[in-house]
Symmetry: C2
Subunit: 346 residues, 2 copies
């Protein structure tokens, strides 16, 4: 009982297993990883000893020797926002099922984003694949990503060269706006995000869908009818307040996310107006709480996006070189924040 306790605590190495099983380390390695060319008896013996010693290969040593990390990275613009937490949740399911660990990156600030791109070289050593969520890539970055050894899958944006998972934002937005048009609305606002420096497709495409639906109905997408909400509850509140005090006040508004839509509904009510009798509001997402608030919205399968993208990444790592673009379905969910133009309470 001199210095053995420390010994007990120390986890077993492949050498320990090899010596106890009376085989070479090479054989242990092969046996444990299910490689061929190991006699059944030998394999059994190794497995038994490994189990007894609770042996697990040191992941860092494995990576160094073999090049595989059995980890994947995932980068989101921000944690703690509903959409991203759902995508992460779905992706995690796929990774866990495949036995991959998840390294999570949040690229909130420009500095963090720059560092992430800059550290790509280290990243490649840490992960076998990378899931990029709403990370707008400029042409140079795109080229770098395309030629990287690490497999990449994108959620939210579609790029040539690697797989992606998106929804048809333009079409879905058109559906939302046509719903409002069918209710008799002619002055229909839009709350999204200001145009960014990079072609982030999500708000741009939804705005395009809004504009197209209006034009097809011979309505005019006036500048006064647009506001930016930054995809937050407070931003939606602010944006709606702005629309309510503009020269041309809308009778209905299409909002790019449910969280912004909830802020918008509150702004309408604070203004002494009723939803939907005075102003209709339709969101986008189908947030967990949208049903509670009776928010009409465009549902998109957020958790599934993550799950599908995660699986695509696992497939790519496994050697699948196809680069499919999955476009998931959306659906208009009618609830109680939209109603006929000039409609009264039912």
């Amino acid at each position: 009982m001199s210095d053995t306790p420390a010994q007990l605590d120390r986890s077993a190495t492949i050498e320990d297993v090899a010596s106890q099983a009376s085989v070479s380390m090479a054989t242990v390695s092969r046996a444990l990883r299910g490689l061929p060319n190991v006699a059944p008896d030998t394999r059994l013996k190794v497995l038994e000893v490994a189990k007894k010693l609770n042996y697990r290969a040191d992941p860092h040593a494995s990576r160094l020797a073999a090049g595989k990390t059995f980890s994947v990275g995932m980068a989101v613009p921000q944690l703690g926002r509903w959409y991203f937490s759902q995508v992460i949740s779905g992706a995690r399911d796929a990774f866990a099922a495949a036995g991959y660990d998840l390294l999570l990156f949040a690229l909130g600030s420009g500095a963090e984003r720059a560092r992430f791109i800059h550290e790509w070289a280290v990243l490649e050593k840490r992960v076998d694949g990378l899931l990029l969520v709403d990370l707008r890539l400029d042409p140079d970055e795109l080229e770098a990503v395309r030629t990287a050894r690490t497999k990449v899958v994108s959620v939210g944006d579609q790029y040539e060269g690697f797989p992606s998972v998106t929804v048809d934002n333009k079409a879905a937005a058109s559906v939302a706006v046509r719903h409002l048009i069918n209710l008799g609305h002619e002055t229909i606002g839009y709350i999204g995000d200001g145009p960014g420096p990079l072609p982030f497709s999500v708000p741009n495409d939804r705005r395009a869908g809004w504009e197209q639906a209006l034009r097809e109905a011979n309505l005019v997408p006036l500048a006064d009818l647009e506001a930016s909400g930054g995809f937050t509850v407070e931003g939606g509140h602010r944006a709606m307040t702005q629309l309510l005090t503009a020269r041309t006040r809308p009778t209905a508004v299409f909002v790019c996310s449910d969280e912004m839509a909830m802020g918008a509904v509150k702004a309408v009510r604070e203004h002494g107006l009723r939803v939907p009798q005075d102003i209709s509001v339709i969101g986008f997402d189908d947030h967990d709480l949208s049903e509670i608030i009776d928010l009409t919205t465009i549902r998109q399968p957020v958790v599934d996006s993550g799950r599908v993208a995660g699986q695509l990444l696992i497939d790519a790592i496994a050697g699948d070189t196809s680069a499919p673009h999955h476009v998931l379905p959306t659906e208009l969910v009618l609830r109680k924040t939209t109603g006929p133009y000039g409609g009264r309470a039912d």
Copy 2:
């Protein structure tokens, strides 16, 4: 142009830097990590070459040689739920500021939880520290964790032996219930979670606070007044429906989370009753959307819990051996889902 292109793509090793800077690999290693005993000129030269070659030490090789991973792990019961996503967000901030990468684990199912505990030995090789969120540890597990080499910090539960971040759930719940008592309510329900097999303190403590506040006011915590909502929106809805149809119907309910409270409010309304005129509801958390819904609640600093816990873990890894128990403040936030007993609309 025969086989050089591949060469270009390959990232630089410490050997490349050493040879270009005309020093040994040992010197490069020391210079880059800011260790003493490097001549200023030498350091400068190494830094320059490293920058030119965009060199980063291979993390796996470093770990293997030095034992540090510069990664931390974080385990939550579930992703995609508001509370956990906020805690993760806060912790991530602390980790990122300290330069640590984050390995994320979700322990949804019992099988995943068991595997997580069982794989502790591998985990210890992958991370320098572990943040455990609402992971109920039984005595054996606790002992294993305490003696582990890896540093551990707990959020939500307090254990002897390592740091933790919690709120005073019992006291906070009492505040909530006394608020209802002060409004004149005498039949006050409780929506929480059924007692689990392990002493998960959060719902137990809140229930204790409910019971204590009632007893202090000479009210009786009838079994009929309790229901389990599983911390989900739908669960809250179901639990409230149960309370509404029980023999003793409460005039006010204390709910253990805002998400459950939102489900509860909806259930009340679907029952043809008004909130708060017929039934008062108070939640717990101060969810992002609670203000939108005008939900009265107990605010707890969720993001801060994560941030503080993350920093405690960083400190512990850095060698801080104190094991402080941080108890963060809570606050009653009065909004519009609670009102006087028998009160009319204002």
